[in-house]
């Protein structure tokens, strides 16, 4: 221990405490280095909103703003689950039709068998977990590439939906609770209370963390940046809820139509929960580790197979949530629920949000940001009155663009060594 007494400076204390200026400079350096984070999604969102607002002024109406949430909710939920699989560098092509299967189970249990909503929802979620477990075991234990396993699932689940729907008939949902998810609104006052709780909770978490780290002499973000984040969240949520609380009904005397869709707080809770799991628990840390370097994770004593299987279970369970939301929105389930471009939209949402297709990088908020972009695209194209041919081509191009940005930023990161 001769040399240790000479220098007691930790590497943490060598760097000067960051200022707002250095924080901004660091951020810009990271972006230049290829770590784009949420930048493409936010930029894309602003540009798209601007374009659609100019071309179709109705885009910026309160009624249409509420539509964005109900249109994007199912895709966002599926994308949240996909992020777990994408973090490992795997893919789940079956997530769309898995949500269809779960929606079909939901409809059968609720409408055909007549059980209450919570039994139907539990059955749908359980189905999702069984699907995920099967996929995960085939990938992790048997060793079939996830691309092939889930491509097989993509085809098979399409068939399962048809079988559950007795060859093409559709089942309508009559349960009021399930319908309420996408078709009923949170009362305006409660909406404001939820915003206050969200902002207050975020502020408490951020300030506690800041105080805790400062007390221990660790490097912290400048306090102004912390306040800035809290203020930004308050402003964004405040504006969103204010607009959603406007009267949207054409004749309010007959039926009042204001407040945020009930699906919004549901997605918010899922966002907070999964973000907590990924960034604050050992499980989340291990998931990133397996995605970053599987061999290193194995040598660190992490049960890699278990992590991989669990990611598929979470992915398919979230697909079930997406299926429930879709069933609620349509008030029925048909053989095409979760089909056509739902999967592409979900993968697109995750990738546009900033989750890498190469594994190891991504956050749950990516699903929300990317989901917002996707919702704006779906909504805007609908307002433009494009034919479905044009819609498919445009959607394909957007997905390609997002994957291209991901690949290029990854190359740039490799060159500059920032990630």
């Amino acid at each position: 221990m001769t040399t240790t007494t000479v220098r007691q400076e930790g590497p943490a204390s060598v760097t000067p405490p960051p200022t707002v200026g250095s924080y901004v400079r660091n951020y810009l350096a990271r972006v230049r280095g290829g770590d784009l984070g949420s930048l493409p999604a936010v930029t894309g969102l602003l540009v798209l909103c601007l374009v659609f607002a100019i071309v179709r002024p109705v885009f910026f109406s309160a009624a249409n703003f509420a539509n964005l949430f109900t249109q994007g909710a199912a895709v966002t939920a599926i994308a949240m689950g996909l992020i777990f699989v994408l973090l490992l560098g795997e893919i789940d092509l079956s997530a769309g039709f898995a949500s269809g299967v779960c929606a079909a189970i939901l409809a059968n249990v609720a409408t055909v068998l007549g059980y209450p909503w919570y039994v139907a929802v539990a059955a749908a979620l359980f189905t999702g977990m069984v699907i995920g477990l099967t996929l995960g075991v085939l990938v992790a234990k048997v060793g079939i590439p996830s691309f092939v396993v889930t491509l097989a699932g993509f085809l098979a689940f399409q068939g399962v939906v048809l079988l559950l729907m007795e060859e093409g008939t559709n089942i309508s949902i009559r349960d009021e609770t399930i319908i309420a998810i996408e078709n009923r609104w949170v009362p305006p006052l409660i909406g404001w209370v939820l915003v206050a709780v969200a902002v207050g909770g975020y502020a408490a978490a951020q300030l506690l963390r800041h105080r805790n780290r400062t007390a221990r002499g660790l490097v912290t973000d400048p306090i102004m940046v912390v306040f800035g984040r809290i203020a930004a969240l308050a402003v964004i949520l405040g504006i969103a809820v204010y607009v959603l609380n406007q009267e949207r009904s054409i004749n309010p005397l007959i039926s009042s139509n204001k407040g945020m869709p009930i699906v919004v707080p549901i997605l918010a809770v899922l966002l907070v929960f999964w973000t907590f799991v990924l960034s604050r628990t050992a499980y989340g840390r291990h998931l990133y580790a397996v995605g970053g370097n599987r061999e290193a994770a194995r040598r660190a004593g992490i049960n890699v197979d278990k992590i991989r299987i669990s990611a598929f279970v979470i992915c398919s369970a979230m697909a079930a949530v997406g299926g429930i939301i879709a069933a609620s929105r349509d008030r029925s389930v048909d053989p095409n629920t979760g089909g056509s471009n739902v999967l592409l939209y979900a993968v697109g949402a995750a990738v546009i949000g900033g989750t890498s297709l190469f594994g190891g990088k991504g956050r749950i908020i990516d699903a929300v940001l990317g989901g917002a972009v996707v919702a704006v695209i779906i909504n805007g194209m609908g307002l433009m009155g494009y034919s479905s041919g044009v819609k498919y081509v445009l959607t394909g191009l957007v997905l390609l663009l997002a994957a291209g940005v991901d690949a290029l930023s990854r190359r740039r990161s490799a060159a500059t060594g920032t990630r």
Partner: protein
């Protein structure tokens, strides 16, 4: 100079099917010393390390830890005795930061939540204890570090757990001159801090720069384990390539010659 080795191996045999990789190997690592393990490709260095770290079971032989016989059946057993291995292909995750890598698989928690401040503090203290001053921030991703810095993090990760024996597999193989010097300095400091260090290296300059003892493997046999001051550069090269050098090596006792040993009549000639 410590009298009892921290880790002593006696008569280790290891075969993979018909191929005998280690035969009757004896090896000792002393606290406060750097023991260099040298040998040509295929001599069995990596196999020996994997036997010590519990990845491979041995066919025969005994382990003595601090003079007491022990059995090591898994990497977990090895870790519980304070044996840590820093592998050649650095077992670090590029997408995690320095603190996250150092605690990977052994995270500190309070309840179910990760205790980040404690981990960051412990990491800072460990790096400070090793006089590492080259990293800018503990929260930077490992992908942004240079080769030498990565090696430093990998070594610090091994030291973090109050380890007693650290085995370094070719720590300088991919490094430049300045970075090699940095890492060697760190290796020396580990030993000065009282740890037993085993350094596997091909580079004779590195070996002579930091080691206190040199153990030479030749085709699965320990041909010599001597003090670095008692041997020359050329002799080590001879031991590595031919298995013998003057009074040392094969024919200089049963593969073992801690104190020279007298020439035996029968050379195990079947080695070639």
């Amino acid at each position: 100079m410590s009298a009892t080795p921290l880790l002593e191996l006696r008569g280790i045999d290891k075969s993979f099917g018909p191929v005998q990789v280690l035969r009757d190997v004896a090896f000792a690592a002393y606290p406060g010393e750097v023991t260099a393990l040298v040998g040509d490709n295929g001599a069995g260095k990596s196999t020996l390390v994997k036997c010590i770290s519990g990845i491979y079971p041995t066919d025969a032989g005994e382990f003595l830890f601090d003079g007491a016989p022990v059995t090591i059946n898994s990497p977990r057993d090895a870790a519980s005795y304070g044996i840590e291995v820093v592998y050649q292909d650095l077992a670090l995750c590029d997408n995690l930061d320095i603190v996250q890598n150092m605690f990977l698989g052994r995270e500190k928690r309070s309840g179910i939540v990760l205790d980040e401040p404690t981990m960051e503090q412990m990491a800072a203290e460990t790096l400070a204890g090793l006089s590492v001053r080259t990293v800018k921030s503990l929260r930077q991703h490992v992908s942004s570090l240079s080769g030498g810095q990565r090696q430093t993090v990998a070594i610090a990760k091994a030291v973090l757990w109050n380890s007693k024996l650290v085995i370094l597999d070719e720590p300088t193989a991919a490094l430049g001159v300045a970075q090699t010097a940095q890492v060697l300095e760190l290796v020396r400091r580990l030993a000065d801090n009282g740890l037993a260090v085993v350094l596997i290296s091909h580079n004779m300059n590195d070996v002579f720069a930091v080691s206190d003892r040199i153990a030479a493997l030749y085709l699965g046999q320990m041909v010599a384990q001597v003090k670095t001051t008692d041997i020359t550069h050329a002799q080590v090269v001879e031991l590595i390539t031919a298995g013998r050098s003057g009074g040392l090596g094969l024919g200089g006792g049963n593969g073992q010659s801690d104190n020279g040993g007298e020439p035996a009549a029968s050379t195990p000639g079947a080695v070639r």
